[in-house]
């Protein structure tokens, strides 16, 4: 059965995950290692193959050169020396004897060139077994003049090596013939006289090349410039086959390619697509030319053997890796087993627990790892479970006991309930009354109506010989008794400060808890140490005090009191408690209503003031417009009157010039009329200018532009605006009169101020002073003498201006509000409430000075203005 992976055990999972990841890592390392070492090895082999080839070729060339030197040297000897035929034969014989590579030597001369009588002269010594034999070459059957070995060097005029041949007679030796032409200088002419020829055995070459052993099956071979094999480990192909015939025969195009490169004298290292002739394994061929005679050497490297080391190493590593993997698998199995074993035991135990066997012995695990801790918790859980089950059993028994007695209890309760029901019916009537009262008192917002309703109803429901409602005043920390009734008579109202801790009402309000006593004499000491009462008072025996609370705010205290002991039951207390709740809500509503009414009234007043100041502002604009329009006619009045003054004067002068033409009486008349005319026009001009200055003044007050600092004489400014204020007041009310007292500091020079703004300050304050004294005058009549006093004083770096009046003064509670914008005590329409606020801004902000007020009600008000002298 095939399980899904997540259903298998921990051990399997661990082995599977860890094992497969390690295996992947191993496989990667193997592959990379194999590839790298193979590449490295190949490079090394190529390098060493090249070296091997070169060293073999060198050896071959050294031998070849030394062998070829023998006929060359002999040729030189013959050319330069005089030898008898005998002597020549001796030399040849010695050379053959002493050189093992030489098989035979002859010197073949041209016809009659050496011995004049002989057509053929060619002594030939050659080895036959261990002997050296001699024969004469050249007769009619062996006419050597036409043979290749003679003819080719003769025609070429240089040494020539014949293609090797296989000497089957001479013991399977490959032979090569090397011929050197001989020349003799006769006179100035170089004349060909014969050939030195040496037959060489290539046994040495075979030995050298066959000595090449590469690993087990590698070997070397040599081919001639036509591709014939000279040496090869397989003798049957020597001189019988060429590299091309083999390539052709067996179908190896790459071998043909290698052969072509070899006969072209190139060197290389190639992998042909054939299996080597010997051993039949895939091989590499390294080849290089023997430059002396155009042969080429090839070395065959069996690939398998080359790579065998790498393969062996890889196999070893593979075995090592597999061993490691098996070891890791074993370790994982061990670890996971050590984890899962206790877990399996725990799982088994918990199965038992789940089946209800709480006393099962749990496995004991020593270790302090997670599993150990799990086990400990498990043991703890088991004991807790056991305990709980025991408790449950006990509880179950107790429950069974209880259910038996319950039936009896139910019977008893049913009886009690029917009794209670009867009582409830009775109290329901009272509840109805209470709810009616509640509705009645909470629907009114009039405080007295609330008091009366509460009292009437309390009286019908319980004994209220004395009845009190006190309102708590949070601001003044006192209880204000608003309703006090004793034996149906209203008592005078009174106040209890909250600090008077000996009053029960204060205790109740402070603790917000009810007081309920049916024997005051003995119980009151719980609340107060001593409750002061008047001597005539009949003793109160029972009482209830209840706090009136709405939304946790204390409204006040309600109380009923009786002369009788035990006058009140819990039932009465409850009723009063209900009433108190309604009363508290009703009173709270009434207070809120009062507050709203008050706020509404204030709002309306503020609105009226705002409307008024808006009116004043538009009036100001109107004034400005009118003032400007007046300036136009004034322009004409002033200018024409000025012109008229000049004209009158001119006329007077003209008349004076012609006075002799007039009657003196007439002259007097003229002078009188002209004098009056000039005087009148001058008056017109003067009053025109006055009107202009009034208009200017009006404009100053209606304009709000920031003023420019100007050097101004403060004394003059104050005087000017005091006059303006005074006359303004007179114009409004002809009954107004005031004594103006001035005390100017004459040493005061002009200072830098904004005259049009500061003049408004003076005007405002003096205006207020006039208003105040005028109001007081209207109240007091003749016996009051109003005075407005203005004084200036130089304080060094400052100037002080004091304006004082003996008018109504400013009440203490509003003196800190007089500079507030829109604050005014004047009736609506008489003041904007902006005068002093604006003055304050001008003095304090614009002039960096101070404006202070002091006053005593009904005595005086004094405004003190100080302005620094050095204003920019």
């Amino acid at each position: 059965m095939k399980k899904k992976l997540n259903q298998r055990g921990l051990t399997t999972k661990l082995i599977l995950y860890i094992f497969s990841s390690i295996a992947i890592v191993f496989a990667t390392i193997f592959t990379v290692n194999y590839k790298l070492s193979e590449k490295m090895l190949r490079k090394n082999i190529e390098e060493s193959a090249r070296n091997l080839n070169q060293s073999i070729v060198n050896r071959v060339e050294i031998v070849l050169a030394s062998v070829e030197k023998i006929p060359r040297n002999l040729a030189v000897l013959v050319e330069n020396g005089q030898y008898s035929p005998e002597r020549l034969k001796d030399v040849i014989r010695l050379l053959v004897k002493n050189n093992p590579e030489i098989y035979g030597i002859t010197i073949a001369f041209e016809p009659y060139a050496f011995v004049k009588s002989e057509r053929y002269f060619a002594p030939y010594y050659f080895k036959s077994g261990d002997e050296i034999k001699f024969t004469w070459l050249g007769r009619d059957t062996y006419d050597y003049f036409t043979l290749d070995w003679y003819l080719i060097p003769k025609e070429l005029g240089k040494a020539h090596g014949r293609e090797p041949y296989y000497d089957e007679g001479g013991g399977n030796i490959i032979m090569s013939t090397f011929s050197v032409p001989i020349y003799k200088t006769i006179g100035s002419q170089r004349q060909f006289i014969g050939i030195v020829t040496a037959d060489m055995s290539l046994e040495w070459l075979q030995k050298i090349v066959n000595s090449i052993k590469v690993l087990k099956t590698g070997y070397g071979y040599t081919i001639t410039s036509t591709g014939s094999f000279i040496t090869h480990p397989m003798p049957e192909i020597i001189m019988n086959e060429t590299i091309f015939s083999i390539a052709e025969e067996r179908g190896y195009p790459s071998l043909r390619e290698i052969g072509r490169e070899q006969i072209q004298g190139k060197s290389g290292f190639k992998k042909p697509d054939y299996k080597s002739l010997q051993g039949g394994k895939p091989s590499w061929i390294s080849y290089s030319p023997i430059s002396l005679n155009g042969w080429s050497l090839g070395i065959v490297y069996p690939l398998e053997e080359l790579l065998s080391d790498v393969r062996r190493l890889t196999t070893f590593m593979l075995i090592l890796g597999l061993g490691g993997l098996i070891f890791i698998g074993f370790m994982i199995a061990m670890i996971s087993d050590s984890i899962t074993k206790p877990l399996r035991r725990l799982a088994k135990a918990s199965k038992e627990l789940a089946a209800g066997n709480f006393d099962i012995e749990l496995p004991h695990i020593e270790s302090n790892d997670e599993i150990g801790r799990l086990n400990q918790s498990f043991i703890a859980m088991q004991s807790a479970l056991r305990e709980t089950i025991n408790k449950l059993k006990d509880a179950n028994e107790a429950l069974e006991d209880y259910s038996r007695t319950l039936e009896e209890k139910v019977e008893l309760r049913t009886h009690e309930l029917s009794e209670k029901n009867k009582e409830l019916d009775a109290s329901f009537r009272n509840v109805k009354i209470l709810s009616d009262i509640g509705q009645k008192i909470t629907s009114t917002l009039n405080m007295d109506m609330i008091f009366n309703t509460v009292y009437e109803n309390v009286n019908t429901l319980l004994d209220a010989t004395t009845f009190l409602i006190m309102i708590y005043n949070d601001k003044d920390q006192q209880l204000e008794c608003r309703l006090a009734i004793k034996k149906s008579e209203r008592l005078p109202l009174y106040i209890q400060p909250m600090s008077d801790k000996n009053k029960l009402g204060v205790w109740c309000a402070e603790h917000r808890e009810p007081i309920f006593m049916n024997d005051v004499k003995h119980e009151s000491s719980k609340y107060v140490t001593f409750e002061a009462r008047s001597a005539t008072d009949e003793t109160i025996a029972s009482l209830i005090y209840l706090p009136l609370i709405v939304e946790q705010r204390l409204i006040g205290v309600i109380s009923v009191q009786s002369f009788k002991k035990n006058a009140y039951t819990q039932y009465h207390f409850d009723i009063l408690q209900n009433l108190a709740t309604y009363t508290a809500i009703a009173l709270d509503n009434a207070f809120a209503y009062e507050a709203i009414n008050r706020a509404n009234k204030e709002l309306k007043e503020a609105q009226a003031q705002l409307v008024q100041s808006e009116k004043m502002a538009s009036l100001g604009q109107l004034t400005a417009g009118i003032a400007h329009e007046i300036k136009n006619p004034l322009n004409f009045v002033n200018n024409f009157s000025e012109l008229s003054i000049d004209l009158t004067r001119e006329l007077t002068e003209e008349i004076d010039r012609f006075q002799d033409k007039f009657d003196p009486k007439m002259m007097d008349y003229f002078h009188e009329v002209l004098g009056d005319l000039e005087h009148n026009v001058r008056k017109i001009n003067e009053h025109g200018k006055r009107a202009d200055s009034i208009v200017k003044g009006m404009l100053l007050h209606s304009r709000g532009k920031p003023g420019e600092m100007q050097k101004t004489d403060i004394n003059n400014l104050v005087q000017e605006y005091m006059n303006l204020a005074y006359h303004g007041f007179r114009a409004q009310d002809s009954t107004f009169n005031v004594k103006l007292e001035t005390n100017y500091d004459a040493t005061l020079g002009p200072i830098n101020i904004v005259p049009q703004n500061l003049s408004r300050v003076f005007l405002n304050i003096i205006n207020n002073a006039c208003y105040s004294v005028h109001e007081k005058k209207k109240e007091r009549g003749e016996k009051f003498a109003p005075v407005v006093a203005v004084s200036t004083k130089d304080l060094g770096d400052k100037v002080e201006v004091i304006i004082r009046d003996n008018g109504k003064g400013i009440p203490q509670d509003i003196i800190d509000k007089v500079f507030n914008p829109f604050f005014t005590t004047k009736p609506t329409g008489k003041g904007t409430g902006l005068g002093l606020s604006m003055s304050y801004d001008i003095v304090v902000q614009e002039h960096k000075g101070e404006l202070k007020v002091t006053s005593a009600p009904d005595e005086y008000a004094e405004f003190c203005i100080t302005i620094p002298k050095n204003l920019a």
Partner: protein, 132 residues
């Protein structure tokens, strides 16, 4: 000889100026021309005879086009003209507007003719020195 144009809706301005400048007019120093509305002034300035006018004295408050509007047009179309505003209104707003439109002087009514004469002659000197 300097030709001045006075623009004011009050016709009495003409006898006033003629009397005030009697001597200068008699001596040929000044010639006065009067327009009683801004529209008239513009119409006159369009005519050929207006070419020699160098100074304009204008009121601000006039029915129809007001003096500030006139000033704006004058400074746009006749940049070479010197314009004095002469008005009963000396509030900040009108003053700033007049300066913005390029008024050369801002004088208030009642007119102080001694001051006006001084301004006119100092200005005519300026103009002459610029011409030279």
């Amino acid at each position: 000889m300097m030709k001045i144009m006075v623009v004011d809706d009050e016709t009495d301005i003409e006898p006033l100026f003629r009397q005030r400048f009697r001597r200068e007019i008699r001596d040929g120093l000044i010639e006065c021309f009067f327009c009683f509305s801004a529209e008239n002034a513009l119409a006159y300035l369009n005519s050929a005879t207006a070419a020699d006018i160098v100074l304009i004295l204008s009121d601000i408050n006039m029915p129809g086009m007001n003096g500030l509007e006139l000033l704006r047009i004058l400074k746009e179309k006749y940049a070479h003209l010197t314009v004095f505003m002469v008005t009963a209104y000396d509030d900040e707003e009108k003053y700033k507007k007049a300066l913005e439109y390029g008024a050369d002087r801002y004088l208030t009514k009642p007119i102080d003719f001694d001051k006006l004469k001084a301004e006119i002659f100092s200005h005519s000197q300026n103009i002459r020195s610029q011409d030279a």
